[in-house]
């Protein structure tokens, strides 16, 4: 480069001008980052969204940023003030669930409670729980009726089998995911990082229990019905184009509260607790009742049992 023939004074003036210019761009960039653009989101948020790391790779600070960003997004999308947390699993807890099919009357109260608790899209047709009406004496799922709608339940000669994610101990969905967007947490819940999922739906193919569901459209939730207590891996508002499923109400159960389905069930057919606690109800069921699991022969080791008494 040719030596600059300018005087020192002139050079300083140029330096100042350049510095001011860059500063101006910086300020302008910062200001524009903060302007709502991108579907209501600021450019900064949209940028951070795109480059958001996998759940397991985020530092604590990055996670905090992400949680706040999710709260901001919910405000824009649903005009709702939510809080998003990342409650860690409890030590020495592995969750297990059992349903007493002699008690289930087929009300579907659990289905509805789940929809409300977990901010499921009211029109995207995702329901984590599906109750099957089965013929007495017949355990063939192909003879089940998913769309039963009689005047009253239970219908004579039928029994009811609610099905949701089995939180398998050897989950085929976890193996299938090409980007590790789904994995099993230490407390046994198989979770999905909704901001990492690419929507290939291979996990849905792999699941033997039809427990995984896809957001074909943007989930629609009325503002006044949004549940504001959310968890990053649980019921925080999810975007379009990703897979989701029952997560044992992670936002509740990690704080000791019952999952919404269990709380809603009027007959007490649902039993939930810590498999590692020998005094828990779930352990009592496993040790004293004739339990069975669906599709036992597939070796998925569900943590969801059924029994009758």
């Amino acid at each position: 480069m040719a030596k600059d023939s300018r005087s020192k004074e002139t050079q300083n003036k140029f330096d100042m001008a350049r510095r001011n210019f860059l500063r101006g761009i910086g300020v302008g960039a910062a200001v524009s980052m903060a302007q709502p653009a991108w579907g209501g989101q600021t450019f900064g948020d949209a940028f951070d969204d795109f480059f958001q790391k996998h759940y397991k790779k985020m530092t604590a600070d990055e996670m905090q940023e992400t949680l706040l960003r999710i709260e901001r997004k919910a405000k824009i999308r649903y005009d709702a003030d939510i809080s998003c947390s990342n409650t860690p699993p409890q030590e020495n807890v592995v969750f297990g669930y059992a349903i007493n099919i002699s008690r289930c009357q087929g009300y579907r109260d659990c289905v509805q409670a789940c929809v409300e608790e977990n901010n499921l899209g009211r029109d995207s047709q995702v329901q984590y729980i599906r109750v099957l009406q089965m013929d007495q004496g017949d355990s063939n799922l192909e003879h089940s009726d998913h769309y039963y709608d009689p005047e009253e339940v239970p219908v004579a000669g039928k029994y009811y089998l609610p099905v949701q994610c089995m939180q398998c101990d050897d989950p085929p969905c976890v193996k299938a995911c090409p980007v590790e967007a789904t994995w099993m947490e230490p407390d046994g819940i198989v979770v999905v990082d909704y901001d990492w999922c690419i929507g290939c739906r291979y996990c849905m193919t792999a699941c033997p229990y039809w427990a995984r569901h896809f957001n074909w459209t943007e989930p629609e939730i009325p503002t006044d019905e949004i549940n504001p207590d959310t968890h990053y891996l649980g019921n925080r508002p999810r975007p379009r184009g990703v897979v989701e499923k029952c997560h044992f109400c992670i936002q509740r159960t990690r704080k000791g509260r019952q999952p919404a389905c269990m709380e809603a069930c009027p007959t007490g057919a649902r039993i939930f607790g810590n498999l590692l606690d020998p005094d828990s109800e779930i352990r009592y069921v496993l040790e004293n009742k004739q339990v069975f699991r669906l599709k036992e022969d597939l070796g998925t080791e569900p943590k969801f049992w059924y029994f009758s008494d």
């Binding site: 996998h54 599906r130 003879h143 995911c177 929507g199 739906r201 291979y202 074909w216 599709k295």
Partner: protein, 408 residues
């Protein structure tokens, strides 16, 4: 640099030609553009514009993907005779076959991309930058082998054509190992794709060890069908000479592969229907309908009929060597296998659902348009590649060795 000149000359060759050539390119481009606009619609509104559902969560896109991986793998049917059995006549057309492999793999990859719910998150798959679940996830394997196959089928012909372009002899010891690699790799791409389906005990229709062999057999039937027709078109519209012996060999391979394929279909039907249990529900749905639902039934019987007619033609020597009958058989086999291996494979895997529900699937106009756009794009890629390959193979495209101020 010579390589730069090679690329530029190649590109120039691709975009020069007769009026008919340009008309062909224009038609393809229009279809591609239409497909692109419908895809934009899909990106705007989400996959809800397709006919897929939680019940049938893979459909027309993945059906085409599975079929096209087979076509891509079938390029190896030219590579093996050319390099292992030293068939000079086939060696002359092997690079055209590899061009077809490139087009087919590109189409396959595109079909997966348009099926994604979040294509903006594709970078999540990049190893180290994202999280690549290899070796556990079969889909991760598929991404790996398809990308590798694409690279191999671009690199090897690039090398060979460059040396041809320079009028020099390529280093056999250097490229032959890669050719061998490509042979095994071709089998692997289709086996991995088969494993993608067969690894799921949740889907009894696919959960059979026979799926891998079925995929290879049907690939080796549908691939040559396409190659035979394409080579004849090339023979007709270009100055490129394709020996009849090439066609005869491919037709023979196709005949054997079709017979094996139909034997496999028969084996599946017997095994599932002799003592019919719940695991046979999907095949029952496909061939006989289930609980009043039978939208795929006419399609599969049609496909089976086409395949049977094709194999009969191919098994009769005088018919197989007759150009007209051979072409009929090729078209029938191609369409028949496209139906059987596409929608006839993917959709019944989801019917009934693991919870016993029967929910049918019909592709929407968005899916059909995007698919047409991708096929047109693949054919366009192949056309351009073949144009350049033929010019170099025929010696029309050569690097001007002496660069003098007076050269043109």
């Amino acid at each position: 640099m010579a390589i730069l000149r090679f690329i530029l000359d190649g590109l120039r060759e691709m975009f020069r030609g007769s009026r008919n050539y340009w008309l062909w390119l224009m038609v393809l481009t229009v279809v591609v553009a239409y497909g692109a606009t419908r895809y934009a619609q899909q990106v705007m509104n989400g996959l809800v514009v397709t006919g897929m559902s939680d019940q049938v969560s893979w459909g027309f896109y993945i059906a085409n993907f599975a079929f096209l991986v087979g076509i891509a793998a079938a390029a190896v049917l030219l590579v093996i005779p050319a390099y292992i059995f030293h068939r000079k006549d086939i060696k002359e057309v092997v690079l055209v076959g590899e061009g077809m492999a490139v087009a087919a793999v590109t189409m396959a990859i595109l079909f997966v991309v348009v099926d994604l719910g979040r294509p903006d998150r594709l970078w999540h798959m990049i190893p180290f930058i994202g999280r690549f679940n290899w070796p556990m996830s079969l889909l991760a394997w598929d991404v790996l082998v398809l990308s590798g196959y694409l690279v191999l089928n671009l690199a090897i012909p690039f090398y060979l054509l460059y040396y041809r372009y320079r009028g020099k002899e390529a280093n056999f010891r250097l490229y032959f190992p890669f050719v061998v690699l490509a042979m095994f790799w071709a089998i692997s791409i289709h086996t991995v794709t088969a494993f993608l389906f067969s690894a799921n005990p949740a889907r009894p229709f696919w959960h059979t060890s026979l799926l891998g062999p079925r995929f290879i057999a049907s690939a080796f039937a549908s691939g040559p069908a396409l190659i035979i027709i394409t080579l004849q078109v090339i023979h007709k519209v270009t100055q490129y000479n394709v020996s009849k012996s090439v066609i005869d060999t491919l037709a023979l391979i196709m005949a054997i592969a079709m017979q094996i394929n139909l034997f496999f279909v028969g084996a599946e039907l017997f095994t599932d229907f002799y003592n019919e249990g719940a695991h046979a529900a999907s095949i029952h749905y496909l061939f006989l309908g289930l609980d009043g639902f039978n939208s795929l039934q006419p399609w599969i019987w049609f496909a089976l009929t086409l395949n049977v007619i094709a194999v009969v033609i191919l098994m009769i020597n005088p018919l197989r060597t007759n150009t007209l009958y051979l072409n009929i058989a090729c078209v029938l086999a191609f369409v028949g296998i496209w139906i059987e291996k596409g929608m006839g494979l993917v959709v019944p895997g989801f019917v009934p659902t693991p919870l016993g529900e029967i929910f049918e699937y019909v592709p929407t106009s968005v899916e059909l348009s995007v698919a047409a756009g991708i096929w047109a794009f693949g054919i366009l890629i192949f056309t351009l590649l073949a144009k350049a390959v033929i010019a170099i193979e025929r010696g029309e495209l050569r690097y001007p060795e002496k660069v003098s101020p007076y050269s043109l």
